[in-house]
Subunit: 193 residues, 6 copies
């Protein structure tokens, strides 16, 4: 079987992209050794590309109470609930690397309740899933238990906002049938020493 295309929509040639978009793509290729397909698939609409990655960086690269691995746990758990092939595979790889744990990503993707996480991480994921699936039921009473586990209000915003951003991202990936790069599947799978 030939490899299927990376998107239902046409993918532009690098040479035809605006300079800033091309620069961002070349930078990620330099750093990762390959270009994650989301950069190519979204580049056909440069304004949306810029807005998406600006939003992404604002939440995923932010300093704050949540570790980078915890941010990726939120992405993987909510993307699995939305059955987003691209996000679970790509961010599963990033989670393995950031958590230095080869098992955690698959555990979170299949049933986050049973992952090898700390109690506060379980509460974090419960809340992220509520934002992802039942945000209309969020109420004041959801906040004190999170604060009692050490989450600041800024952390709670981060949890909710990451779940909200990937609500968008999962839907875009499903809309365009975005295919994860083969490289992601193997990244970070070497066992813990």
């Amino acid at each position: 079987m030939p490899t299927p295309p990376i998107s239902r929509f046409p993918v532009p040639a690098l040479a035809n992209l605006p300079e800033d978009v091309r620069a961002r793509i070349l930078a990620v290729q330099e750093k990762s050794g390959f270009v994650p397909n989301i950069f190519l698939a979204l580049a056909r609409r440069p304004d949306e590309f810029r807005a998406f990655f600006a939003y992404h960086d604002a939440l995923m690269e932010r300093d704050g109470g949540l570790t980078k691995a915890e941010r990726e746990m939120i992405v993987v758990a909510t993307s699995a609930a939305n059955e987003c092939q691209y996000c679970v595979v790509a961010h599963g790889a990033i989670l393995r690397i950031r958590a230095r744990d080869p098992l955690l990503a698959d555990q979170v993707a299949i049933n986050y309740r049973k992952a090898d996480h700390e109690p506060h991480q379980r509460a974090m994921l419960d809340f992220a899933l509520k934002v992802a699936l039942d945000s209309h039921e969020i109420q004041d009473a959801d906040f004190p238990p999170l604060r009692a586990l050490g989450f600041s209000d800024e952390d709670i915003w981060d949890i909710g906002a990451i779940a909200a951003l990937f609500a968008l991202s999962n839907r875009m990936a499903n809309l365009i049938n975005m295919r994860p790069n083969d490289e992601f599947y193997l990244l970070g799978r070497a066992p813990k020493k």
Copy 2:
């Protein structure tokens, strides 16, 4: 009963905002006569504010096959499915104005299948709801019927991307319990002449 706050999170003073954020807020106030609460509620995180409105403008102000009223129909229908108070009330007002129709917004919000729309608009909303609620089931077979009704592939991207963006927006509004401005409720309700 005193008016409840517009957000669960603190709202910054205009004077403390970065210049570009403040300028955007003043511009909308100038144009609308009031500041829609989403501008104030998101301003506390300027990077996310900028990314959100850049994304919003890229999709909602875009030239293309969908009319501005149709874009608002997508927002209202999907936001109603997510029970987002702010988005249904605020974009309901915008829809009334852009469609020059005082009934359409409420019809779409309560049961979009029964709104006074054209057949191609019904198909547009069915697809938007699929993106909003069941994006994992989108398949190639969903596209030809939309094309047969006159939607280009760029239009279909717009439908899906607007539904995806408001998946984010609805969840943020529910996370922070964003309150719609009282002004929205009455806008555009004068009967058609």
Copy 3:
């Protein structure tokens, strides 16, 4: 677009109706200034017309612990859950008038949890929604918290019975595709003084 019909089924001429049915219709016209479409749409079956309005009046005009506005809140919240165009629009108008509040009806219709209501009204609506959507799970334990908020057992019957009656009403309106009168959309929208 010409105005669509008010029902999928034929609507009888006033002149052909039994005297009591016609009298009821003329009385509501006298009082409201127009004939709400439900009177015309149901009149083709006089026995069902009589039974429906007898049931309606027994519950909605009843003296008791619930205010008339609260009874309408139950109608709007449960009818929104059933996506009943007619009932949300028509009873939304009545709610605005009875509560002397131009915002409450839309708030209740979109997400009743976030309406500007009192705590006992929130509990009332939670119970009404349980009757509307999950009545098989009602249990003895549901009653003491309602009593603790000041509801008598007769009030609880009223809450449940109104939700039950509009379970019927919503399904009839959806069955016949009943259209709300244009007049309802604007009623009671003048801002509070």
Copy 4:
């Protein structure tokens, strides 16, 4: 275990009931040999009692295209979907008697798709369940297939209205935890000859 009460709410003494309500109860006792509990449980509110049974008789005793057994099939199938103990047991008994079939009621209650029914009855029950569970999705396209199977528009109204009435009835029975009379369980179970 002592027999539990027939309702969560008090049941009035026959002697204290209005004359017409008492007469109706005595008549059913005369005819059936016992008083079905719904008569006693609803009698405490005579106006609602009268409206309910007027509605019931208008639909269940009506001449028309549907047989009386078919009307009961609709009741049993939709009441099973609502997990209404009283309605499934009581109307299951009536269905056995009216259809002269000792098996049909249980079949319809457990999985109506597998009952020993005719194809047009299967379509009738599919539509009744749509009214009971998803009435907001009813559309014009639902009607021609029913007409093609021989149902008149009056028959379709009957199907939908019976499903709607028992949407009310099931919720009332669940609200008050109405208990079916022991007599119902055995009625009509003698095998077909």
Copy 5:
């Protein structure tokens, strides 16, 4: 209407079955007076037949804290949730016999929450339904309340394993459209003395 076949798949002649399978079938016929259709429908695959009944006997005939009637209650409640015609009818009959109660099986099948059971039986059924419908949400916190009601850990395994076995059985019966024997409907319906 001629009696429909007992399975969508061919049913083998007794004479063609392996000796142990035929012996088992003759034994049940000897004991019950008829051959429950599941024995005939599964016999076409002797290895699966043997595995199924070995599993069944290991759980349903086991000594332990649960009574045989309680084991059947679990079967009826979970099979009703899966709308399995065969299992509800056949095990409903066995439940009536084992519990010496002509009403309990129908009560459990329609809405197990309202059956005439003891409080510990209600908790048993709640847990069985969680295993049947939401096993991914089972957590350590589910166990102490069951232990407090007197269930040993072996009993809890039994509850869960019976629900799991009939998850299989219900799906097989639905796959092959297995028909319950007419005899089951009347068994055990004589009133309690």
Copy 6:
């Protein structure tokens, strides 16, 4: 974090097991290089252990139209729908090996509709999921399309029976919180040559 236990229930020592159970366990260890935890977790109840693996072998080792890889695809897809950590991880590994494809298992687990499969395999999985989640809706009309894709009736039985067996297996694994062996995560991940 110390490795959590492999089951909520005690795990017996090999030395205390019946000879046949121990022999089976030693054989799998010999073949695989480790003992999959399901053998240890179920061994405490030898009769259920024997019945489970007899059923498993009858379906998974059977000759027939389905390849062994296809049988594993059914297991992974339905176990993912049930969020069964053990079955998705363990059978995902077996699927990678049997299909000689390092990507297929994760694709099937996250969203089986988007896996790199043949059209007949997509139909196979659609039917398996219907058995797993909505078996009460299976009808005669489901069979001809499968036959048209080349599936024999024995193949269809296999698809359904495997989905049914893992309905049991998933629930048992969730009941006892069965942990997949670490070894499974890396098996079969070497890229295709």
